[in-house]
């Protein structure tokens, strides 16, 4: 199912060259609210990426809000997009989400578990956190 937030991202990235896509990701990364030092714990950290990353979630009125961060700016940019898409949804909705925008803006290969940025692990963590809230 198409989804407005993802479609908007796809439009923003549409037709851009690689370096321009990265420039855009860098500016998204810069806009991302840094995670508070106190949440950068072992528990919230994500293994399997070259740059350290952290994810946490909290509930607001039955909807999940995520807070995530990374040391690398491009990864921050991707995280920023990801949060736009998953934030403020019910756990069920998050689990049902098809993150097609990643493929369409050329980040599909980042979903491979072998990738150094650990995007696959971040998404897995987001799903796990949503799953924990479903029941």
């Amino acid at each position: 199912m198409r989804d407005a937030v993802q479609d908007e991202i796809i439009e923003q990235f549409g037709g851009l060259e690689w370096l321009d896509r990265y420039s855009l990701l860098i500016s998204f990364g810069r806009e991302l609210e840094p995670m508070d030092e106190k949440f950068r714990t072992e528990e919230n950290s994500i293994g399997g990426c070259q740059s350290k990353a952290w994810v946490r979630a909290y509930e607001v009125d039955g909807r999940l809000m995520f807070n995530a961060d990374s040391e690398a700016m491009i990864t921050r940019g991707i995280i920023s997009l990801l949060l736009k898409v998953v934030n403020n949804r019910s756990p069920r909705e998050i689990l049902d989400l098809d993150l097609y925008f990643l493929d369409e803006i050329g980040l599909k290969s980042n979903l491979s578990p072998a990738r150094a940025d650990g995007l696959a692990s971040i998404i897995r963590r987001i799903r796990e956190l949503a799953e924990g809230e479903v029941n």
């Binding site: 293994g47 070259q50 290969s109 491979s112 578990p113 072998a114 990738r115 150094a116």
Partner: protein, 397 residues
């Protein structure tokens, strides 16, 4: 209807070769198999266009290599019916796989007992000795078939390590019955599948083993690569080797390790080799493992019956389910002489103790002639062998 007459030898470039002016009849498959063109091309194309080190690479080639490597792992996982690719570790071969298990479990094995069989390959004997375990063999009948009912498990039995198929006799061992008995005593079972993975469909869940070991080079893939399946139950055992790629955090004082499979893959793995196992599985699955088994069985039984029907030939071993190897001797003629003359007739067999000295002692011989079959062998190959043996006998008459 499956077509048992298809000539798969066309897929294997080396089989076009003439040796001493005769078409090569390659019957040394238990030592190593030949490689189909598709596997050889996969290897060289990997080096020509994708080669890179894997894991954590930020660049394009590294991504492709990592993906191809992990895809090969997933393929192996499916091929053996594992629950998860994380249970599949790439090693340097069967011997390496077994040594890794023996080394990881050394603290438990040392001074205790490992149950093996009397038909084991040295690679499933010596690693346990090096780990400090005592070896005891499961009793066999006069045809060297294991008698699972006679298995005696004591408090000191910490492992049962059994070959799925004998590399000498070709007999398939009752591994499933053995794992069932082992489970009652909560003793782990390692199955050495070096001589079965290329001949029989294998399902680790069905077998119920905790470890399964095999080699790429005997299943139509590259040399220097193998597999160790480690059931999730043992995912937290200590790695036996340390190095790059398997650690979480290293200090001079203390190191923590990743989860399997990376935990068990220290250093740069045989990337091209792993990918070649994937290509070999594709090749076999295209034909179909059931088809391979039936086809091989036809040629194998044909050869075996002809040998049994020949005067002056002793054929070793005998059971219902057999595959791969047939061992025999010509009366009064040394196995080495037989092998040497067969070679000059273009027929490649192996002679000697086949890394199974304890079995040789049981058989009462220093060695045997072993003809071992693969999917490309035909009844014609068997006939060439039998004609060759006739020639040997005439030369000694």
């Amino acid at each position: 209807m499956t077509d048992y007459s298809k000539d798969y030898s066309k897929d294997f470039p080396i089989l076009e070769k003439e040796i001493y002016g005769k078409r090569l009849v390659y019957l040394d498959n238990a030592a190593t198999s030949q490689k189909p063109d598709s596997v050889i091309r996969t290897l060289s194309e990997f080096y020509r266009s994708d080669n890179s080190n894997i894991h954590r690479g930020v660049h394009y080639l590294s991504e492709i290599s990592s993906e191809r490597y992990e895809k090969a792992r997933a393929k192996v996982s499916d091929f053996i019916g594992a629950d998860d690719p994380g249970e599949v570790t790439f090693t340097a071969g069967t011997t390496d796989s077994i040594n890794q298990v023996a080394c990881s479990l050394k603290p438990i094995l040392e001074g205790n007992e490992v149950l093996i069989s009397g038909v084991e390959h040295h690679s499933n004997i010596v690693p346990w000795q090096l780990a400090g375990a005592k070896l005891r063999a499961i009793p066999m009948d006069e045809d060297c078939n294991l008698l699972p009912d006679s298995i005696e498990i004591t408090d000191r039995t910490k492992m049962i390590a059994i070959s799925h198929a004998s590399n000498v006799l070709g007999s398939v061992n009752p591994v499933k019955e053995i794992t069932e008995i082992a489970k009652e005593h909560d003793v782990p079972v390692l199955v050495d599948a070096a001589q079965s993975i290329q001949h029989l469909p294998i399902d680790v869940r069905d077998i119920g083993c905790d470890f399964l070991a095999f080699s790429g080079h005997k299943m139509y893939a590259a040399t220097g690569v193998g597999v160790l399946y480690t059931s999730e139950r043992f995912s937290d055992i200590m790695p036996s080797r340390g190095g790059g790629g398997m650690i979480d955090r290293v200090t001079l004082e203390r190191t923590t390790y990743l989860k399997p499979p990376l935990r068990f893959e220290a250093g740069t793995p045989h990337i091209a080799g792993a990918i070649s196992i994937g290509a070999a599985i594709d090749y076999m699955q295209n034909i179909g493992m059931d088809h391979i088994r039936k086809r091989e069985h036809e040629v194998y039984s044909y050869a075996r019956e002809k040998l049994l029907g020949t005067d002056g030939v002793t054929v070793y071993g005998n059971t219902d389910l057999m595959c791969g190897s047939i061992s025999f001797n010509l009366d009064e003629i040394h196995h080495y002489d037989t092998g040497l003359i067969l070679d000059k007739l273009g027929i490649a067999v192996r002679t000697g103790h086949h890394c199974a000295q304890p079995l040789m002692r049981t058989l009462g011989t220093e060695g045997t002639v072993r003809a071992s079959f693969a999917l490309y062998n035909t009844k014609e190959d068997a006939d060439r062998l039998l004609e060759g043996m006739e020639k040997v006998r005439m030369m000694y008459a």
